[in-house]
Every structure is written in C-alpha cells, then in structure tokens.
Symmetry: C2
Subunit: 217 residues, 2 copies
Amino acid sequence: MGITERKAREKELRRNAIIDAAEKIFFSREMDTATMDDIAEAAELSKGTLYLYFKSKEDLYLAITRRGLDILIDMFSKAVKKKKYGIQKIYAIGLAYYSFSRKHPDYFNAMTYFLAHSQEFNENTPTAMECALAGDRPLIIVRDSLIKGIEDGTIRSDINPSETAIILMGQSNGLIQILSKNLEHFKNMHPQFNLKSAENIIDHAFNLIHRSLEPST
Amino acid sequence: MGITERKAREKELRRNAIIDAAEKIFFSREMDTATMDDIAEAAELSKGTLYLYFKSKEDLYLAITRRGLDILIDMFSKAVKKKKYGIQKIYAIGLAYYSFSRKHPDYFNAMTYFLAHSQEFNENTPTAMECALAGDRPLIIVRDSLIKGIEDGTIRSDINPSETAIILMGQSNGLIQILSKNLEHFKNMHPQFNLKSAENIIDHAFNLIHRSLEPST
DNA sequence: CTAATATATGACTTATAGTCAGACAATGTA
DNA sequence: TACATTGTCTGACTATAAGTCATATATTAG
C-alpha cells in the first residue's frame, strides 16, 4: 500500500512549506533578527513542529542555502553548455555568478554565511552534508571548463586547473561581496575615485582575468 | 590641574584592558558563543561596567576589529615602503595580506565579519566610524601603488587604478577566506585534485595577477 | 471500536544581551 | 576634618529568543 509513500511525500511538502515560510522571514530582515516564533507563525505551525523537521535554526537556514546552491549550480551548468570554448565557458560562468548575486542576493548572502561557517558545522546534519556536497559542484564546473580550455587551446596550459578553479571561485566570491557591501560606501567616501557601477568593475575584472588566462602570444 | 587628563588616561587604559579581556574570550571560542559575562569575568569587572565603555557586544567586537585594521595598515605601509616599483609594491602588499591572515587569523576573521556586516551598523558608534575610516586605508595603499606602477611603467596603463584596487582587495579577501575555511575540505573530498598547500595556491594566484597587470610586450 | 503509531502543540526551561537603581570612590569646598 | 558633588562600578533584574518535552490530537491498523 502507498500510505508510507504518501506520508513521506506529505512530510516533504510540509518541510518545503516550512522552508518557504522561513525564507519569507529570513529574507525580510537580517538573518540574526529572524525568530523561530515568527517563522512558526508564518508557516502556521507551532514552534515545536519546526524542530521536528529541522535540528536548529541554523539547520533551517542551511536548507535555504541548499536551495540557493541548486539555483547556482543550474545557472552554472546552463552557462557552460551554451559556450563551446573553455575560455568562453569561464566567462559565461563569471557572468552567471554575478547575475545570480543580483537576482538572488538573499541566497547569495546565505551562501556567504555558509562559506564563512562551513567548517564549524560541516556534516552534522543531513542538510549540512548536502550543502557541503552541492557546494563543491560549482568548483568542479569551473575546473572542468579550465581543463576544456587548456585542451582547446583557449587557456594557457601552464596553469593548474584545480588550483585555478579555487582561485577563481574565491576571488569571485570576494569581489561580489565587496561590491555588494562596500561599493556605495567607497563612492561616498571617495568621490574623486570616480567609481563606476558594479557592472563596470566586474567587467574590468573580467578583462584582467582574461588576460591572466590567455595563452601567451 | 592634570586630574582631568589623568582620568581620561585611566579611562583609556581600562577601555584597552576590556578589549584585551574580550580578545582572550572571543579568540578562544567562536564569536557567537562568547558571552559578555565571560568577558566581564576575564576583565575582573561587572558586566554593567562593560556597557559603560562599549555600547554593545558588537561594538566591543568592532574595537577588536579596529586593532586588527591598525596592524594590517602598518603591514601594508611597511610592505610598500620596502619596494621601489609599483608592481613590486603590489606583490609585497599581497604577501603582507596573506601573512597577516596567517599570523592573526582571529583579527582576519573579525575583519571579515566587519566587512560582511559593515553596512548594517556603519557609523552608529565612534568605533564603527573609526573602522569604516581605517578600513579604507588598505584600499588607498593599493590604489597608490597601482598609480605608481603605471607611472614607472611596471603596470599596464589601461587599467583603472581605483577600480582595480577594489578588485584586488575583494579578490584577495575572497581567496584567503576560501583557503582558510575550505581548502582542507576540498583536499579531503577531492584527493584526485592533488591540491597543494595554501602557500602554493597563493603563489599561483600571484602569477595570474602579475600576468594581468604587466604591460603588454 | 480499540490500540498503536505518527504528528503537532505550546507552556516551560535555559541562556544571554542589555538596563538601572543604588553603592562606592574620588575630588572639591569650607 | 566634614560634607557635598561628581564620577565610576555593581549585580540583581528584565526581556527576548532558542530549544525541549509532556501532553493532545489525528491517522492507520487490526
């Protein structure tokens, strides 16, 4: 009989409904001012029930991070598929990453939070483990594209693709973060710098990266 | 009479003693598990007194961040002075930054925290304002070095020094962060990537950056 | 219809940031 | 020295929010 299956399905639905409610709450204030009581109310459940589905507030936030990662992985995969040559794939990934950070700033923040705290709670809950696993996918996509580029001659062959993938991911993270958090501050404090839009700066960064990856002439 | 001055001096001393105690506590656990009661005990003061010197727990943490920024600015300044050419200065700054993150990981974490939350509390307390001001100094040092490099011909002239300074700072932040938080994880999960040490990867990153900044031949 | 199981509840416990009325100490005045 | 004033410190108290658990309710099985 399908009762067990139906129950499992219902449980999954409820779990997702809780994550939906949590997103509403987390995304409407700063992460640390959202309360479990608020989330419970938004989900039309009691607080105790939340803890039947998630080990802790952090675990629930991690489930949101997980959703963000899935979106990001999807965007990376599509970006890579669209382009033929390695260097084009890298460029497309970069654009996709920036586009993700603009379209889904809350998911981006969640991922930044996860990145900053990952070693504290890694693999303590199923959700954390899933995040750790999913978190590696973007890196692998970048690495594969670098390898492709080396093979097709659009990327210099004396780079180490694994290390370069980490470098590019780390750098992109940091750049997007500083632009989203501090660009306005910099503009206000140093008008004489004539800083352009984030898009302009990202574009500048792409030029630099392109130059560092292209084969020597 | 010098009583007013002496009192001011004593107040400053006590303030610093509290920051000392706070560092002991913050640096011995994760930021969010440190309690004001613990800090009060370590400072041999009552909790109420802490709040006479700092507006909040976050404000106290910001005072620690401030110390880290001062150290970093000092290291950047010295690095820049040691070298003659622009590109050498940039390289020296990069080394200094990495070295800072290894010698003072707790200060580095504090700065990362500040960077991630700066727009939330900017300029709400004197300490926050000082941090915002001091936080700009590294960027300016990088920018000046880029300008110097363009002038002395060691850096290509078609980059925008202000934008490139932001790019380099953001990228460096992100790279150091990912290496300190996730390199071990990557090594464990993907042994086939044959990842080397953080130093190796940093070195690789320097090569890439150098290539992107050097004048075209 | 009853027992067994699964799910949900919300009052309760615990932990901790932040407050404040009163205690105590240092300085100024006569 | 005595007393007033000002500055500093205290810790019990309040408020808030995470997480728990005994109990209630709903669902399924026999």
